[in-house]
Point group: C2
Chain length 195, copies 2
DNA sequence: ATGAAGTTAGTGAACGTTAACTACTATTGT
DNA sequence: ACAATAGTAGTTAACGTTCACTAACTTCAT
């Protein structure tokens, strides 16, 4: 896990902005240099290649996802932690719409062979986080013992991804936190067997 | 809705194959012509531009999704129709893995301004189909009256999208129909209030 | 004889990347 | 205190390649 310079982080953030606005096809060294206000070769002072930039971008997203998950309290009912996790996720994405546009856009990166494994890991991360909490919920008898928590994690994680994607397609014109919380609560109400 | 020539359909299918294998970045007129075994200019005998090909590709996916949905019986419990719809979807995608790789890859097409509206419509299509069936289910008292069927459709549609995406990332190494049916059944069991 | 579908050859523009050089700053030996 | 040295981050110019696309010509079935 290499430590990045501040300039490298600026470049990654500029890359995220470009991809979120125009898609991967418009992400070129040229567009990136213009976004940063420097010449194209100057970028090569900070990264060896374009692919290296994308790799660093993916690591940034990975670290960001882990950081979000690590912020949830860690005690109390597992379902409450689940709700807290996604609320925080929505909040963070709403604060940084460009990240929201990119974080679930896996297929965008899949063409580059070198990046495939990292993309994969990123997709699995949210699913695994969710599955783990649901397993706890099952152990605590918060949810039925006979449902597959991996299936549930697929539905929940997939639903969240779709919601974030549509929010981006709508240019962030509605409140992601609000709508997102409703979806999460709808889901939790379905599986919660306490009371 | 323009009628396509057989050659145009061949070109669209070749395009889907390339994008599913290599991603949108490797989808060029050159790679397309090689896939078809003809020269690059020959393609322009059938489409005016590269964007026109992508537009036709999206229309193809749109029509395909509608066709799948129209095949479900239309009578019986709405939840059974829902299950039938997704089973058929999984079956069709498993038969054509290249289509599976592309049909839910919206962000891949979002850069081209001309295509954005069509992409949007394609995303909404599955959600709307699902929502409609869930509204029926609610009217028939198959599911609780106080859950938002649009939230449910987001979860279900999103879960299916994620599952199909992961199936593609795993190069179709597991059985999509089987795994998919399990997820759908898990979902239906959560919302079904009949017994 | 015509029109559809192919070819070869070539266009300008954009691609990622490298070479050669410069301004500025920090470190260091005297 | 200060010149020599080295490192950092930028520049312009140019590399060879690929991009989408066009012009002009050929082949061939109707």
């Amino acid at each position: 896990m290499p430590v990045l310079t501040s300039r490298q982080n600026e470049i990654i953030e500029a890359a995220i902005r470009i991809i979120s606005r125009k898609g991967i096809q418009e992400f070129t060294i040229r567009s990136l240099s213009r976004e940063l206000g420097i010449s194209e070769p100057a970028i090569y002072r900070h990264f060896e290649s374009k692919t290296d930039i994308l790799a660093a971008l993916l690591e940034f997203l990975h670290a960001d996802t882990i950081a979000t998950f690590d912020t949830v309290s860690g005690d109390g009912p597992a379902l409450a932690q689940l709700e807290q996790y996604f609320s925080l996720l929505f909040l963070r994405l709403q604060e940084r719409p460009a990240v929201a546009a990119v974080v679930f856009s896996d297929e965008v990166f899949l063409n580059e062979e070198r990046l495939a494994a990292t993309v994969r890991a990123l997709v699995e991360l949210t699913i695994d986080n969710t599955t783990r909490l649901l397993t706890h919920a099952k152990q605590n008898a918060e949810i039925p013992a006979d449902v597959d928590e991996y299936d549930l994690a697929t539905l929940l994680s997939g639903g969240v991804r779709l919601l974030v994607r549509r929010w981006h397609m709508d240019s962030g014109s509605w409140n992601l936190c609000e709508r997102g919380s409703r979806v999460i609560q709808t889901f939790i109400r379905l599986i919660d067997i306490r009371t």
